[in-house]
Symmetry: C2
Subunit: 471 residues, 2 copies
């Protein structure tokens, strides 16, 4: 007794207005084409409701009629959470709910609707003299609702936390259309279960976030940035611990990069100059926040101690914005530069930070045994225990043949090492539809049962982003 596509389109037009319903598949590219070009299932319709009442009406109707609803923000997710799976779903874009409801720099809180583009959230905070410290490569198109639903991380998690930690409260429409009003701005509130943290990171499977209260912070006076030569991931770990003890949460970034990344970028002319002090097997990109009214020089002083303790061999401290930018460009081009060397197999994994050296050593060795000549390119947020553990194909290999033969096998090898070390097979990007089967294999079965019980309790008809995260 399911509704026909035309019945669905008519109902959506009645509820949200015909001008915000797209039913022509040829006009849906903006909502269907996701960044990885991996998923190609169509949607029955796309609707971009103009207000929360329309979101509520659509969900009430969808729940009664068992129509699957996929909430979508900027369509920047990397695991297919925001695009169709069965083809029977409608996409509900939050793009029109794009109001900053309030910004209070003194109180350290901003209320933004789900459709606010991350970059606009940054601007709103800045205009009020504050900072919303969640930076992603996709910030020009990612929207707050998606950022929160995927519990996005980015480069500043070390000092400020991930999306969950930056969110004080959320407002969300539930499966039956009711509005959960949880927009609080309290640091302490022990009046019941932590519903906010349940909705954040749920990939739209438990409710559709419509707005959030977000933490904003005083603008730092400046940053101190260095690119430091370290002999090994073990040495990098010791250096990290020294920085953590001396700089605490002013440590804003601790990114590990292997020499091969520099080599590739220089070879392909991706850097205008070599940003490092000298050649080294590994580099650590380190950044400290300098708070208002405090003297510069902290990073230099800590690095001097590290030299004295022989933790590091050489380093260069950025002395201009251009030098800082070049260091960050080097880091940010790490993903892209691999494509200049043909195909690569990628993993977004995390382990307890003390296990990073073992992860890199054992993971690289195991994969090299399986695929002779493969080139490990592990890099990323070492300070968060989060390594983008990527592998470039052997020089000169055929990209398609390489991927066809080794993609799955390398995943298996890496995930086995990650799980042995107590790690996670999806540190930042989530589950979506890409990793549903993987999750079922690796997650504690009791945890999966708890998740299913909660999902059924809050969405008994299974209309919210069906088939994502949990089958």
């Amino acid at each position: 007794m399911s509704l026909s596509a035309s019945e669905i389109v008519r109902a959506l037009s009645d509820m949200a207005g015909p001008e915000v319903v797209v039913s022509d598949p040829s006009k849906m590219a903006a909502w269907l084409n996701e960044p990885r070009k991996r998923f190609h299932t169509p949607a029955t319709a796309v609707v971009t409701p103009p207000d929360i009442a329309a979101v509520q009406a659509i969900l009430r109707w969808a729940n009664q009629n068992h129509v699957g609803v996929i909430p979508q923000g900027g369509n920047t997710g990397l695991v297919g959470a925001q695009v169709p799976l069965s083809g029977q779903e409608i996409i509900l874009s939050l793009a029109r709910l794009d109001r900053i409801r309030s910004v209070d720099a003194a109180a350290g809180v901003m209320t933004a609707e789900a459709g606010v583009i991350l970059e606009n959230a940054h601007k709103a905070a800045e205009e009020a003299g504050a900072m919303f410290p969640l930076w992603l490569a996709s910030q020009g198109s990612a929207r707050i609702g998606g950022v929160l639903s995927s519990n996005a991380g980015g480069v500043n998690v070390l000092a400020y936390g991930n999306a969950r930690e930056l969110t004080m409260g959320v407002e969300a429409v539930l499966a039956d259309g009711r509005l959960y009003r949880g927009l609080n701005a309290l640091k302490k509130d022990n009046t019941g279960y932590d519903l906010k943290d349940l909705l954040v990171g749920a990939e739209g499977t438990l409710g559709i976030i419509t707005a959030a209260t977000l933490k904003i912070f005083p603008l730092p006076e400046d940053h101190e940035t260095a690119l430091v030569n370290v002999a090994s991931p073990e040495a990098a770990l010791e250096l990290f611990q020294l920085l953590r003890a001396r700089a605490g949460s002013r440590l804003n970034a601790f990114e590990l990069i292997p020499h091969i990344g520099l080599d590739i970028q220089l070879r392909h002319g991706m850097l205008d100059a070599d940003p490092t002090a000298s050649a080294s097997p590994w580099y650590a990109l380190i950044e400290l926040i300098r708070l208002a009214g405090t003297a510069p020089g902290s990073l230099q002083s800590i690095l001097e101690t590290a030299f004295e303790q022989s933790l590091i061999a050489d380093a260069t401290i950025a002395e201009s914005l251009a030098e800082r930018t070049r260091m960050w460009t080097f880091r940010e081009q790490m993903s892209e530069c691999q494509s200049r060397e043909g195909a690569s197999i990628k993993h977004d994994v995390s382990v307890p930070i003390a296990a990073i050296p073992r992860l890199i050593a054992e993971g690289s060795a195991a994969v090299e045994r399986r695929v002779p000549g493969i080139r490990p390119v592990p890099f990323g947020h070492m300070g968060d225990g989060n390594i983008h553990f990527n592998f470039s194909m052997p020089a000169g290999a055929d990209p398609k043949a390489f991927m066809a033969e080794f993609d799955e096998a390398v995943h298996e090898v890496i995930y086995e090492v990650v799980l042995k070390l107590g790690g996670s097979v999806s540190a930042e990007h989530g589950i979506g539809q890409l990793k549903v089967d993987l999750l079922r294999q690796v997650k504690d079965p009791v945890a999966l049962d708890m998740m299913r019980a909660i999902k059924t309790a809050l969405d008994p008809n299974g209309i919210l982003n069906p088939g994502k995260m949990l089958r």
Copy 2:
């Protein structure tokens, strides 16, 4: 068809051993007498299982036989979550699960079982050269399981976060006896719903926490502590914002104290000397963390700026451990000192921090209108938006008559102001049995429905701490 008391005792003895079952009511005082002396319902039995397998067996049996189970740690909770409500329940004490399973200072993580006394967790971290920064007045008897289940706060939330923020993962026995294995130590893990944060703060109504991975931190080099004269809560708020911008998360405490607190303590000889610089309507106790290898003097420099900006009038910086201790003693005696002045009516509330001045002004005025001569004594964790908004009876009043006449009325007045300001009626201490009715009145009804749905999903027979938090 419910089991008799003797059947229950026999079953518990079979599962956990007769030596760990208490069935004689005259021997249950340690588990029944809670700190506020407010709840007096007996229990059918007390059991202190020796291991996790026994906890699992007891819950499996309780679930099959519909026996209510109250998990208990150190029996220090202030809202009656850990003691009986109907009298039909058994108390399951986690006290014997008191092993520190591992401490890794370099990795910043410690795994402690639920029965570990908070003070012993502190010691274990210290012996490894690190710090577990959750300090409570009850730390000599509070146990980790209860600390987490109540999402305890304490005096260091500002710099380090509350129990939820200090917990990386939990292990818990579910209502049906299955073990949820969630002891991860990952900073980033986007593989499913946030079950950890759901179990933390759930007051044992969704599962019984048996162990947790806790964040530990490098030991600070030192602290800088000052007692600062501020003219008003508004001035205190401006000072707080200056400190937040200049010290970031090194700001470890920002506690507000009214002059009446000093007056009472000096009058009753509770301080060996006046810890303040001079008389002032309000004082702020401020503490910064000084990290290893950094120079002292940050607090002094910030306070100098505050003088220049006329935010503060006078201040004294602790120049010895004795002076620092006196300042903290002054703060810590604030609750106790009120008892020297007869009865008092207490509230543990929070509001968005920018609303603290309004909370204090409007709350005091409204209560003074209702009870002429009553003495407002609002103090506490201003930096967290959390005020212990207490009122001492008018000088010379009859304590019993005062409480009988005004206790409920003053609660109503304060909660109305708190809710108007977007605040919480239980910032730190939770709901337990004390605030179940209040919660039903003030909480978003959709949130309550979500909580009930989750409770039913995870504990369909309602055996876990029945009647607590939700009726």
